[in-house]
């Protein structure tokens, strides 16, 4: 039934600068890449990727960037929210040598995927990027998962790891090593570059897109992308490079709440 169930927050942890993980006491059957809709009654309801998944609880990682995410970030143990989902497509693990490319809270769904890949004994390289070192997410968790030597950090300002973008690091990696599949989640422009880079190098992979969502289950049409019209909540959020290459708005514009197009240039 597509109706929120009321669930309780078990605990919250500070991940980094303005980013929190909220654990919810509720068991869901979900796969890495899928998202849930979180409802604060009287305020709004928004999509969040699943970042931790255990038997009797799961976590979402929230960056406080506006009214809703601020309110959600302030919630505490015992507080209640509404929950729907999980929704959307999930990542599909293939091959032996895989690379994760995460930017900002985009790393959320990728760490969960890395956990699964480890269960399958895959070799994982994790490229993690952010504007500066205070925005880097899950460093310790990723180190523990894949080993320090397999974590490659980039920051725009060089405050940690290599100065530059995740795509610079990916480019170098692709030129040196055999890579079977790349998984990427983060800002639109970053995923666009990753898609282009991997396509040029004949490496397959998947990205996880973000668009304004209203229903989350394929009816309202708000998340449809140009020019092919697929619904990011239903045919996405995880799509392969082949499909991503057909989405001309990727990295270029998105639609705001009214459905008006807005260039991604105005967003930092």
């Amino acid at each position: 039934m597509e109706k929120p169930v009321i669930v309780e927050i078990e605990k919250t942890i500070d991940e980094t600068d303005g980013i929190k993980t909220i654990f919810i006491k509720h068991s869901i059957e979900a796969k890495p890449g899928q998202f849930v809709m979180v409802w604060i009654p009287g305020l709004d309801e928004k999509p969040f990727a699943i970042s931790y998944l255990e038997k009797e609880k799961f976590g979402i990682t929230v960056a406080a960037v506006g009214e809703f995410s601020d309110n959600l970030s302030k919630m505490k143990e015992g507080d209640k929210v509404g929950l729907r989902g999980p929704y959307g497509t999930n990542y599909c693990l293939e091959g032996n040598n895989i690379v994760m490319v995460g930017g900002g809270y985009g790393a959320a769904s990728l760490v969960l995927l890395a956990e699964q890949a480890l269960d399958k004994n895959m070799n994982i390289k994790f490229i993690l990027g952010a504007r500066d070192k205070n925005k880097l997410l899950y460093i310790e968790r990723i180190k523990k998962l894949v080993g320090e030597e397999n974590l490659i950090i980039t920051t725009d300002d060089g405050s940690m790891g290599a100065k530059g973008f995740v795509t610079d690091a990916l480019k170098e990696l692709l030129s040196k090593e055999k890579v079977d599949k790349v998984f990427s989640c983060g800002p639109d422009k970053m995923m666009k570059s990753v898609t282009e880079l991997c396509t040029e190098n004949n490496v397959k992979g998947e990205i996880s897109m973000e668009r304004w969502m209203k229903c989350g289950f394929g009816l309202c049409g708000h998340c449809c992308v140009d020019p092919i019209g697929i619904r990011v909540c239903k045919e996405g959020p995880v799509i392969d490079f082949e499909l991503a290459n057909k989405i001309t708005e990727l990295g270029s514009y998105h639609r705001v709440k009214s459905s008006r197009k807005e260039s991604l240039e105005v967003k930092k």
Partner: protein, 304 residues
């Protein structure tokens, strides 16, 4: 197999399934996507005079018999919507009937005039959104006089055919249908959603942010079939039957009640985006079985 083509005010449709307004069809690309999945015609999301954000989430929720929505008519305003409608018309490969709304009668005229630069074959006039009462007051479709005045103004501002979209929550839908046809409506789209509410008992809060919403899906079907049946008796214009259609049999019911074509919205949830080709195919098989060789012959069969 039998031919399921149908004709609406002289406009040929390859099959009688039409994407209902407000479901999926937010952009030109989204409309094209529904057409690619079999829709015989497309009615995009309703467009108003100025940009509107619509309501906060949740805008859609489910109950045992269907869905409840209050999206609140988000749209980018007629001026910037023109490129979306144009793209829908160019890329869908099937007729596209823009849907319009306004807060005042004059606004309906203004939007109709602006949309008409694209020369659509037909415009659907949404007189019946139940979810914007706080902004716009009672829907025009609830009053025969108000509804017919809107139609007259739209008529003055376009040469396109006009379909008036009515709501079910009126004491006598025949009276409204007669009034809009007298005012110049060339077709009737029936029906819009039925007002409803779903409350979450744990928080004692209505689930939809707008509190009230409109019922669509399975629960709406018998109400819609009845409205179409009544309207068919009252007026002599083609009817687009909308409400709870998700199978070929549902479509057949609508057509037997008097519909020339059927709108499909919530059916996309029940059957997938290709609900249009599924319904067309099932309808075709059913017509074969029942011995109808055209939609025209099946139309209104329940009245005989």
């Amino acid at each position: 197999m039998v031919n399921v083509e149908t004709e609406l005010c002289g406009i040929k449709l390859r099959n009688p399934t039409i994407l209902a307004s407000g479901i999926v069809g937010v952009s030109g690309a989204a409309c094209m996507y529904a057409a690619k999945n079999g829709a015989g015609a497309i009615v995009p999301k309703s467009i108003g005079p100025v940009e509107r954000e619509g309501h906060n989430n949740p805008v859609l929720t489910e109950f045992e018999g269907g869905f409840l929505n209050a999206v609140g008519l988000p749209n980018s305003g007629v001026d910037s919507s023109l490129e979306e409608i144009e793209s829908a018309m160019k890329n869908s490969g099937v007729p596209v009937f823009p849907s319009i709304f306004g807060g005042t009668k004059e606004e309906y005229g203004e939007v109709a005039k602006k949309i008409s630069v694209l020369n659509p074959q037909m415009i659907e006039v949404n007189l019946s959104c139940p979810n914007t009462a706080n902004d716009f007051g009672t829907p025009f479709a609830l009053d025969a006089n108000e509804a017919s005045e809107v139609i007259k103004i739209v008529k003055e501002n376009t040469t396109a055919k006009i379909s008036a979209k009515l709501g079910p929550n009126v004491p006598d839908i025949k009276a409204i249908a007669k009034a809009v046809v007298e005012a110049g409506a060339d077709a009737i789209s029936a029906i819009n959603t039925m007002p409803g509410m779903v409350i979450d008992v744990k928080t004692a809060k209505p689930v939809l942010h707008n509190k009230q919403g409109g019922i669509s899906g399975h629960a709406l079907k018998p109400i819609a079939v009845n409205c179409v049946y009544e309207i068919y008796k009252a007026v002599n214009v083609p009817i687009i039957g909308i409400g709870g259609v998700s199978t070929g049999e549902d479509a057949a019911e609508m057509i037997m009640a008097g519909a020339t074509a059927v709108g499909i919205g919530t059916g996309i949830y029940y059957r997938g985006i290709d609900v249009f080709s599924k319904v067309s195919y099932e309808l075709q098989k059913l017509m074969d079985e029942l011995g109808y060789d055209s939609i025209e012959k099946m139309k209104g069969a329940a009245h005989k």
